[in-house]
């Protein structure tokens, strides 16, 4: 029912540039919508498991499925059934419950590691481009040194030095991601710093950090945001890979990579133990990549995801807000297609 209000206000947002407009345009991309749907489910699972773990002490999931950490040796490697929809692993723990709890770790790694890379990369890239000269050269060469080492190897080295823990995993993947963001941000800022409003801020006497944070970075955000969604999937895979190799999340915490690692011992007799976490990793990465692709298309000023003319979506004269229009649809049997229109848009 919200479609009317959004079409009415659409014209106002047309002139707006940047993130808000981009997000609005995303609605017209089927890829981005399905990606967003997957990501939304994932976030739902993550939120549920976090609340369940800290507020209810695993009571909710125990009531619904089973305690993800509770061992039940008699039922080890039980195939999927009504009581265990995804079967059980070698200790008889419910795979479904563990998959749900694993989403919490996967999301946390994705968001926190990408957050670290994002903030670090944006600040370094913007500062380098704005300063120019030797500062720029030195910073970017250092960044490139970091870029030249393969990510997984660097992460393993860092984890080996700092010790295997989930916090070090955040940190390692955060550091690895910085170069990509710094380079994207730098190229954006190189053009933004020539804008007159940056000169105006300098002439007004604003200090450099305010110019960077208020004039430059917000205007270069869009491209880095795409980079962030696109790399989220990669980071989650990487973290799963590290867990699989034994460097990342330590047992008994449920993580998809660690689940895959233990499941390989019984791949033939109990393939479900490996299949479901693997499927989750696949879906997660696909969801984030689809969302990122949609974002990238929405951001491209040369293409418009929105159809220029949509016959089913013409504003109806005389019906201003959704309330009155629904009213007419119910009261007036001569206009059945208005009702159709109401539901069809969302």
């Amino acid at each position: 029912m919200s479609s009317e209000s959004s079409t009415a206000t659409n014209t106002e947002f047309e002139a707006e540039s940047g993130i808000v407009a981009t997000l609005k345009e995303l609605r017209y991309s089927p890829t981005a919508v399905s990606g967003g749907f997957i990501v939304a489910i994932l976030i739902g699972m993550g939120l549920f498991s976090t609340i369940d773990l800290y507020v209810f002490d695993k009571q909710l999931i125990t009531a619904l499925l089973a305690d993800p950490h509770e061992m039940d040796q008699i039922n080890a490697y039980a195939p999927p059934s009504a009581s265990h929809p995804m079967g059980t692993d070698q200790f008889g723990r419910d795979v479904f419950a563990r998959v749900i709890y694993g989403s919490r770790i996967a999301l946390a790694i994705g968001l926190i590691a990408v957050g670290i890379s994002f903030v670090g990369g944006v600040l370094i890239g913007a500062f380098a481009a704005y300063s120019g000269g030797y500062t720029d050269d030195v910073l970017m060469r250092l960044i490139e040194v970091l870029y030249s080492i393969p990510g997984l190897v660097l992460a393993m080295t860092l984890m080996a030095i700092m010790g295997a823990s989930i916090y070090n995993l955040f940190f390692a993947y955060g550091i690895i991601g910085i170069p990509a963001y710094a380079r994207v941000m730098r190229s954006e800022v190189l053009s933004i710093r020539e804008e007159e409003y940056v000169d105006a801020a300098r002439a007004a006497g604003l200090p450099t950090y305010k110019i960077l944070l208020r004039e430059i970075i917000p205007n270069g955000f869009a491209a880095v945001l795409v980079q962030a969604t696109l790399s989220l999937g990669g980071v989650i895979i990487g973290a799963a890979a590290l867990s699989f190799l034994g460097f990342g999340v330590q047992p008994p915490t449920a993580s998809w990579g660690r689940m895959l690692n233990t499941a390989q011992e019984a791949l033939l007799i109990a393939p479900w133990v490996a299949a479901f976490p693997g499927l989750m990793i696949f879906l997660t990465v696909m969801g984030f990549n689809m969302l990122g692709d949609g974002l990238r298309d929405a951001m491209d000023p040369k293409t418009s995801l929105k159809n220029s003319y949509d016959e089913d979506n013409l504003p109806v004269p005389g019906a201003d807000d959704s309330g009155t229009r629904t009213q007419t649809a119910v009261d007036d049997p001569t206009s059945p297609n208005i009702d159709l229109q109401d539901g069809g848009d969302d």
Partner: protein, 429 residues
């Protein structure tokens, strides 16, 4: 009105802004590695160092007194904007002194810098790109106040007050720049420059991005604000009509230098420098009965990287001073020969007569011909300086001696030209 201005009114002799020998050069190649060029023909190592620079502003002097408007006009690329940006501190000067209120701007520490920013503000050219699209206009207007460390409440009320003063509404505080038209945006630009109550406002082509009727509105607004706050304007433009409306004094700029300065009316009615005259000639005349504009100026502005010798305008000057006995074409050949001597590379070999024949198709005056023959002889012996010396007597002052700004008529009308001061045609405009 700020106290500095009042104080200066009593002490009228001191200029508010005084600029001496200001130079702003930009290196053509950034960095040491970029400036090394491969050059096969060179002896020894086949590399040369190219340390040439674009001389955007090259030795500008002027004084600006409190309450007056100095207009700077010139063609595109003559360095007007760089001059404005250097004065306001957006570019670092290569050489020269900028004094604001008697104090050297380039030696300011942080505290002085803040004081300078509170007294000098700038209005930018492009109304579309000079406002950050992501910020509310009220906050943009209050930027100079924020930089000066004023509290938030004061900034807000001042921004609303200013919005009304420049002819907008105070409710516009929370709107974004894209919601305004070009003229409204330029009003916002003005409001930003005025928010801190500066003494000096530097306006870099503030109306060139606007259409005619809006230009008039902005200009009259600027005039009103000047009367109200006793502002001093340094007004940069390429539009002679605008400058005649706004300025008390005008400076005409050509390739980084002022060529003529004077009171507006005098400069427009009795221009002395041929460049000023050519500029005034190029203004379209709205009278349909007169013939169209004849562009006296041909070609482009010479490269500021390697400006012409002597008077920078001599390559395009319609009033070029020819030495005795020379025709225009003859002197062009003479100049070409002299350039080769300067470059130490003559185009022809053989006896001096043969070389002279290859350079000159037209008859030279007798003593000039002798001088050229002597020069060729000297050059062939490798005495290039001697060759140049023997040519000197026959050079035009225009391409050999750099003219200085000299008083023409009245105490403040100056022109940098070799033409005599009284040789000045009355000008209809």
């Amino acid at each position: 009105m700020s106290s500095t201005v009042e104080r200066r009114r009593e002490d009228a002799d001191q200029a508010l802004l005084s600029v001496e020998g200001l130079k702003t050069h930009f290196p053509v190649n950034t960095g040491v590695l970029d400036s090394i060029k491969f050059d096969r023909s060179r002896d020894g190592l086949p590399f040369t160092v190219d340390d040439s620079s674009v001389k955007a502003v090259d030795g500008v002097n002027f004084d600006l007194h409190a309450g007056e408007t100095l207009g700077v006009v010139g063609e595109s690329g003559c360095g007007k904007s760089t001059l404005a940006r250097t004065v306001v501190g957006l570019e670092d000067p290569t050489d020269g002194i900028i004094r604001f209120d008697g104090r050297d701007v380039t030696e300011f520490d942080k505290e002085d810098e803040r004081w300078f920013r509170e007294n000098v503000q700038m209005v930018f050219q492009d109304p579309m790109s000079s406002l950050n699209p992501r910020r509310k206009v009220g906050e943009i207007i209050a930027d100079p106040l924020e930089a000066a460390g004023r509290p938030k409440e004061e900034r807000e009320s001042r921004a609303m007050e200013l919005l009304e003063q420049v002819g907008l509404e105070s409710d516009y505080y929370g709107r974004y720049p894209h919601e305004f038209s070009g003229g409204q945006r330029q009003r916002i630009n003005l409001a930003r420059a005025l928010s801190i109550n500066p003494d000096l406002v530097i306006a870099d082509e503030p109306v060139s991005g606007l259409d005619m009727s809006v230009q008039a509105q902005i200009l009259s607004l600027m005039n009103d604000l000047q009367d109200e706050y006793g502002l001093t304007y340094l007004f940069i433009t390429h539009d002679l009509g605008v400058i005649r409306n706004m300025a008390d004094r005008v400076a005409v700029m050509y390739v980084g230098d002022f060529v003529e300065t004077g009171p507006t009316e005098q400069l427009f009615t009795e221009p002395h420098h041929p460049y000023t005259r050519s500029l005034l000639d190029a203004v379209p005349n709205p009278n349909p009965d007169t013939t169209g504009v004849v562009a006296e100026l041909k070609g482009d502005v010479p490269s500021p990287t390697n400006p012409p010798s002597g008077c920078k305008f001599h390559t395009r000057c319609p009033a070029f001073v020819l030495p005795d006995g020379f025709t225009e074409e003859g002197y062009a050949e003479f100049a070409e020969f002299r350039d080769d001597v300067v470059a130490r590379d003559l185009d022809a070999d053989g006896s001096p007569e043969v070389v002279v024949e290859s350079y000159f198709d037209r008859n030279l005056p007798g003593d000039a011909r002798r001088a050229v023959l002597n020069a060729v002889e000297a050059a062939q012996k490798g005495e290039w300086n001697g060759a140049l010396e023997s040519l000197e007597a026959h050079e035009s002052p225009c391409d050999s001696v750099k003219p200085e700004l000299e008083q023409i008529s009245g105490p403040t009308h100056h022109s940098a030209c070799h033409l005599p001061a009284d040789e000045r045609e009355a000008f209809e405009w």
